[in-house]
């Protein structure tokens, strides 16, 4: 039996689980293993992982807070931008109105000046026209007098220049 047992080392007889001769061995090594695992976990692994998780959580919280802050800043920036835009608009409108008024003023002044010049020119022209007309009328009366005097002379009627002139003048007036 003894030789058989050694020859069959590694062969199971019944259930090896119920071979109580190996129990002390298994229990001893199990306790050693559990103690080692417990110490590694409680001294190194678990505090480290817990710290990493806590770190990550706080990092995420901080980042979220920072993001919230930045968002707030962005909103503020947008508000001030819009404000500046509105200000610039009113400013621009003011400048436009001012420019328009100035231009209008210049325009009015120029118009007035032009009107005055036109009036002066017109007056001058009228004067010239009047002179020309006067000149023309005089020339006509002279020509008429001369022609009348010549006609009278041709008809053989003696008449002095004075009479002819008076008669022509009278005709021209009529």
């Amino acid at each position: 039996m003894a030789t058989e047992a050694t020859a069959e080392a590694g062969k199971a007889v019944g259930m090896p689980q119920l071979d109580f001769s190996t129990w002390p061995n298994q229990i001893f090594w199990l306790l050693v293993t559990l103690v080692v695992i417990y110490f590694v976990l409680s001294r190194i692994a678990l505090p480290r992982i817990g710290a990493v998780l806590a770190d990550r959580k706080s990092t995420i919280t901080n980042d979220l807070a920072a993001a919230e802050e930045l968002k707030q800043k962005a909103v503020e920036a947008e508000k001030s931008y819009n404000e500046a835009l509105a200000n610039a608009r009113t400013e621009a409108a003011k400048i436009v109105a001012q420019a328009r008024a100035e231009i209008q003023k210049d325009l009015d002044a120029a118009t007035a000046k032009a009107d005055a010049e036109i009036a002066a020119k017109a007056a001058e022209s009228e004067k010239t026209i009047a002179e020309i007309r006067d000149g023309a009328a005089q020339a006509v009366s002279e020509v008429a007098r001369d022609v009348a005097a010549e006609l009278v002379a041709a008809l053989g009627v003696g008449a002095d220049a004075k009479t002819v002139t008076a008669a022509v003048a009278a005709r021209l007036k009529g």
Binding site: A9, K11, Q17, Q26, L30, A45, V52
Partner: protein, 251 residues
């Protein structure tokens, strides 16, 4: 015995894989002898260190793959302890994590072909279950004193029924380590034995061994599930028992 060995062509020894052997030579197995139990428990420790210590040594805010796995294990068990055993139970988190990592890694390592499954031995699971039982009982008595015994006196039941219920509760309380250990050891042992039986068929059936090999593949998948689920069940039951000891409400 000799005729049994050589008379049959079908030589299946499904239980051989559970034999405890000395690592060096084949002398008697004393309590201190390094055996295959020592070897595979040592591998479990090394695997645990690789999984939870080495992978987290960079302590990265953005974790690597290994660190993610370690954090997954941590978060899973931490949440389980907090949800099931309550906030007070978190004091026992390293203890429960120890049990879970040992059972889970031993189960998984046992699935490696030619390996030795330490958790398939009643000796191992019984010690684990007794540790839980003793911890729960001692912590309960320490924290609640005799109030811990009120757990057995169901005050919500009619007075007549209470003594009967007390007996039932008492029996169920003391049966706990038994069911706790045999559930784990039995599951592991049965699964591995079944795989070995099919493997024996595969060796003897020639071309038809496709069938047992397919069956082994399927059972192997199932055993992977069982390995994880049994570790989970063992741990969550530990948490449930612990709630009796540290929780305010009982039942």
């Amino acid at each position: 015995m000799a005729t049994e060995e050589h008379g049959s062509g079908l030589q299946i020894h499904p239980m051989d894989q559970f034999v405890v052997k000395p690592l060096f030579g084949d002398g008697p197995i004393e309590w201190y002898t390094p055996t295959n139990v020592t070897l595979w428990m040592g591998i479990a420790v090394v695997a645990m260190i690789a999984l939870l210590v080495l992978s987290t040594r960079r302590r990265a805010i953005v974790p690597s793959r290994g660190q993610s796995v370690a954090e997954l294990f941590y978060g899973f068990i931490h949440k389980m302890v907090e949800d099931v055993a309550g906030h007070e139970g978190l004091k026992f988190f390293p203890y429960i994590m120890t049990l879970f990592m040992f059972v889970f890694l031993s189960n998984m390592l046992g699935l490696i072909p030619m390996s030795f499954t330490t958790t398939s031995h009643i000796a191992v699971t019984a010690v684990l279950a007794l540790l839980v039982f003793l911890t729960v009982t001692l912590v309960g008595l320490y924290r609640k004193g005799l109030g811990f015994l009120s757990m057995f006196w169901v005050s919500s039941a009619p007075l007549v029924l209470r003594p009967i219920l007390a007996v039932i509760e008492l029996i169920s309380y003391f049966v706990r380590p038994l069911s706790h250990s045999i559930r784990l050891g039995g599951n592991l042992m049965a699964g591995h034995a079944v795989i070995k039986v099919f493997a024996g068929f595969a060796g003897a059936m020639g071309i038809a061994s496709v069938v047992p090999i397919a069956a082994i593949a399927a059972i192997y998948g199932l055993e992977t599930l069982v390995a994880a689920v049994q570790a989970y069940v063992f741990t969550i039951l530990t948490c449930v028992y612990l709630r009796d000891a540290v929780g305010d409400a009982h039942h």
